[in-house]
Symmetry: D2
Subunit: 373 residues, 4 copies
């Protein structure tokens, strides 16, 4: 009966505007018995004028997170925990374990010499390394060594596992997966590797050495939907941004931004998750815009602040924050002498694949939001 009592009337031509009457309420109850309802009672709710996200902008300061993450080392083993991860839980997520929108994110920690068992799942994953030496990931037999600010992919359906060399140090990285999305789509499968670990079948870091220069490619056949380049290192990424900054004005909303792409087709690295790195020049303050799709930022370099939905979030290196769908946002580099870099995970590939991407500039006040007191 609850549903029948909902009423979202709007006195606007072309919208539902039906008053509850005794006869109608009785009719609604009958419909319920048929597993049915009257559209006009919910139409204005399920067809909103524009998206209003259930998720909030949140900033997770790394200094606070780090101590809790490190504490987990003493509390659980990778064997018992599966993976030793503290996940970021948006207040709007309910029981979906979502950082924002359909994206899950967490901070994983491993000690030198630890290994986690190999598994595969329908969800797509990326990892962005935060600290430590000696981390590696193995994806379908390809082993990648990982340092700070490197990005590594573990795509949908691949066998993958992580570990730290015995000679390394404790490592922390940020995981990003499309778990809430794939669960909503009821398409999530999980498998543990039959041998718990896979063999390394290629030269270490082979994908990096195979894609050694822009516009140069060996004749390797590839029929997967994700990027055959599994690792994107920080060094050439930052260098590319600096170079590009010399020949472009950049974007008014994002400064100097480059997407991590699948070098086979210039598309996103995976079908459901995208990633980008952007450089804010010394003193740069971008203008505000908004778009469908969700973004999780990690500060790769420098410090500054972002205004999201009228709220100011100050950030410094390794802090993480999120921008929900259709929330206005703008970024400012806090330094007048050094550049700052924001790494970002996003779900733009989903928006684009389904024809749902939409973007809008903030028109007033020369493009800058008023900050809420």
């Amino acid at each position: 009966m609850t549903a029948a009592r909902e009423n979202h009337r709007e006195a606007v031509a072309g919208r539902s505007d039906v008053e509850d009457t005794a006869e109608l309420l009785a009719y609604y109850e009958e419909l319920e018995t048929l597993k049915a309802g009257a559209l006009w009672t919910v139409a204005n709710k399920i067809e909103p004028w524009e998206p209003v996200s259930r998720y909030s902008p949140v900033l997770w300061p790394y200094d606070k997170m780090r101590s809790h993450v490190l504490r987990a080392i003493d509390l659980v083993t990778p064997e018992k925990a599966g993976r030793r991860v503290i996940y970021l839980n948006n207040p709007g997520a309910g029981d979906r374990a979502a950082c924002v929108g359909g994206i899950y994110s967490g901070l994983q920690v491993m000690k030198a010499g630890e290994t986690a068992s190999a598994h595969a799942h329908s969800t797509s994953a990326m990892r962005f390394i935060m600290e430590g030496r000696g981390a590696y990931t193995i994806v379908d037999g390809h082993k990648m060594t990982l340092g700070a600010n490197d990005l590594v992919l573990t795509p949908n359906g691949t066998w993958h596992e992580h570990g730290i060399d015995p000679e390394g140090t404790t490592c922390i990285w940020q995981d990003c997966l499309d778990i809430p999305l794939v669960n909503t789509l009821e398409a999530n499968f999980y498998a543990v590797h039959p041998d718990m670990h896979q063999k390394v079948g290629y030269a270490v870091d082979d994908t990096k050495y195979t894609f050694g220069a822009p516009g140069l490619q060996p004749q390797v056949s590839w029929d997967k939907a994700y990027s055959p380049l599994y690792k994107y290192e920080w060094g050439p990424t930052y260098e590319a941004l600096v170079k590009y900054s010399k020949v472009t004005d950049g974007s008014p909303y994002d400064g100097i931004l480059m997407n991590y792409v699948n070098p086979r087709n210039n598309g996103p690295v995976m079908l459901t998750l995208g990633a980008s790195m952007q450089l804010l020049r010394a003193g740069e303050k971008t203008k505000a815009h908004r778009h469908t799709g969700n973004v999780i930022y990690q500060v790769a370099k420098g410090s500054g602040y972002s205004i999201i939905g009228g709220q100011r979030f100050d950030w410094k290196e390794k802090d993480i924050f999120c921008v929900p769908s259709w929330a206005f946002h703008e970024h400012a580099n806090g330094s007048s002498s050094d550049d700052a870099c924001l790494f970002a995970f996003n779900d733009f590939p989903v928006m684009n694949a389904l024809g749902l991407y939409r973007e809008q500039a903030f028109g007033d006040n020369d493009g800058h939001q008023k900050v809420e007191a």
Copy 2:
């Protein structure tokens, strides 16, 4: 604190298996204050071995639905209701107004001479005509006349409106939209046409006359992601299935099945919703299989039954039923002399675009499920 008390331990290597302790429970509470949680407390829940749908298989018998739908004529006007629709509400839908998965569906009714106002939205819609004469739909200035078992598209972003010719009769059709999906993705926009109605800018039924034969195409430019053929009529559809049945063995799971496609690229008619029509030959009983993705069937011709998740559903013309993601299903034509046809809406385009489509045959018992008592 509720989340911290969740515990989905599995005593399986590679899965989370952490016992609650006082120390851990205190740790979980601390994490909550940081808008964070321990992955191992929810990992086995959010990474299931395989999908278990929250939606149930349901059959909506047309004879029962029809009388309630017709009654709505007296209860509300299209002006007040926006659209006069009774929607199909799956018990698992909660407040999402979903027929199954991310798909909304409803039965709309209009009287001769009625018109509904024009609007546009980010959701994609299809309509399958059930009864009546004189229905029409206008999409971005293209007017389509509609008869029983015709399919018409009103894609994402198009201005569209429906009406019944004054010379016609009361018409009922089934609507199908991706409303729950687009709302979950927080990407839904809605607009009412500034003039409430659009002008017809082309010859009536021009898209049908433009695509007049398979493999023949005028040089019309087209840059949209959806099919430029907005209407698919029942006559040639049924004829195509009958012809095809003479040269193919068909599918063990679906008999003679054809997808409605975008003639520009052979892909789905829209980016988020697909449609198909299948013919079950006289006496045909298909084998069971399951797949990710959701399907809503409408019986276009004949009678028979389907077994879905071990449950038998008997159907006759115009009945509607749904198959949730990963549920085994098989179909049987109840007649040994006549063919039967099942029309279907589905969200396979989403599964395919995001790399999430998976399929499995029912291996036991010669491919047939045991029916629950």
Copy 3:
């Protein structure tokens, strides 16, 4: 020495304009001994301002051709001749056996009960049936029955063979292949079928029954670059043009024109050859334009005339004529009461694939060429 004496000077800035001197002529001779030459002696020749085709417009009247074609029946057998074909030889073709540009064309004749042996080649072929009953073609095991004005494909690399049913009559059809092109590209391979004939492995005319309606497709996998629909029948083709003529103004240069397309991707039926059918409405006179690419027309219905490169060619049913690259052309239906149809083979797919298609309207005289006396 001959080459050195060539001199194509143009007194235009940016073009070669070098006078022969004794020193230069001696230099040119030295270069010849090194298998080299001076670009400026040939630059203006090999880089013309625009194409000037070596091919002429030609009309082959069917009444004259037919008697010679039929006479071949008595002169050679298919066994001895391979195929019993009279080919159309453009005066500009030299020894290339070209109808126009890179396209070969000929008229093939077979008697009731005759069969030709199966073969495969790197060239792509199409056949347009002109007269007779009982013709058939087998392509990779798919047998197609053929009537007047039907188009059948025998793509690059397929085993194919032709024959006439014993119950049939003498049949004549027009062959069209990319032989001159593939020979120029030095990529032509030929093979005789090991058994001289192939088995029919599918229901007769299965491809036609598989693609039974526009926008409806069975889930048949297909990884070839050519159309899986091997036959396009005259009946639905003409009907599609008539229908389309009711909802379009058509093209000022071509009237009502439809391309035969690969229903999988809306592209050309084969990678190197395209085909179209166009309808000129009663009394229609098109305007002149020109384009890169070559066209061979066959009159499928009616009579009229075309003006090609300022020359008038009167045509009636089954006459064949060609339009060379970059020649202005316009068509006129000679009847004020009946429509006329022109079938055409072309090499536009080559021009498009290589980025070389260019088109230009004839701007003067309201779009009509002056006819040479």
Copy 4:
């Protein structure tokens, strides 16, 4: 009458094998008057069992070519010559000015401070720098500085021009264009820039700085069929090959080979011409294979020899040689301590786009040809 007397009889079932008779010879003469011929008189010629190229393998030694190229400086000015180029003329080319197949190639020389006027053409061009400092090319306003072994594109339809900085030295480079192909296709257009020179509209070398790292891309829109990366420098190219050689066994026919690709789609840099750089490891001797398509090699580093169609060609740095369609070829690095690099232009994009690429290993003698005495 000449054509009628051709007779290419083969006593093979499925091939033409018709004896000339007086009656037939008379018939052939009649056909000629109709601009027609009997296919069986030429069928075996125009449908060969496999390609036999009209072009020969040729090696152009740089030491001999260089002096003649430099001499041209004194003989002609760029203004008078258009471009000061010595072209490579294959003995099989007739009057087509072809290096091999449909590919033209030449050596261009310019002095410090010289500039050539801007033009555009339908042909696609690439330049591979051989020696000198200060060369540059401007393509549609993008200026690229060029050093030895750099590759620069001037695609179909772009305004482009070359010059040498006043501070530079005399420069020589190899031009490669698809002139013979585009002329055969009768699709060649040429235009001189209205101002004789274009303005530089972007930061110098902007395309190189825009594509600064593999797998990283700014959001720049691009709708052209050719690569937006106009320059490929030798430094990162060689480095990429060396890196790749550490993680791959390479190809038995080509050693370590990478294609220059369009970073937007991983396809060829232009629609009609491809390019590659391959590294032969110290002491490496590849096996022989053959393929359709033509290749022009330039030795970028080291020395060695190639066996082409059974003929041995010894090469050292900057030598140029060609491999015609379907000729067997194998390469040997002459050094047991240093690697060697072969740059290559090819027309594989044409072969692939038209479905005509075919490849075959040399099966005998462990994959090595016998060298002709």
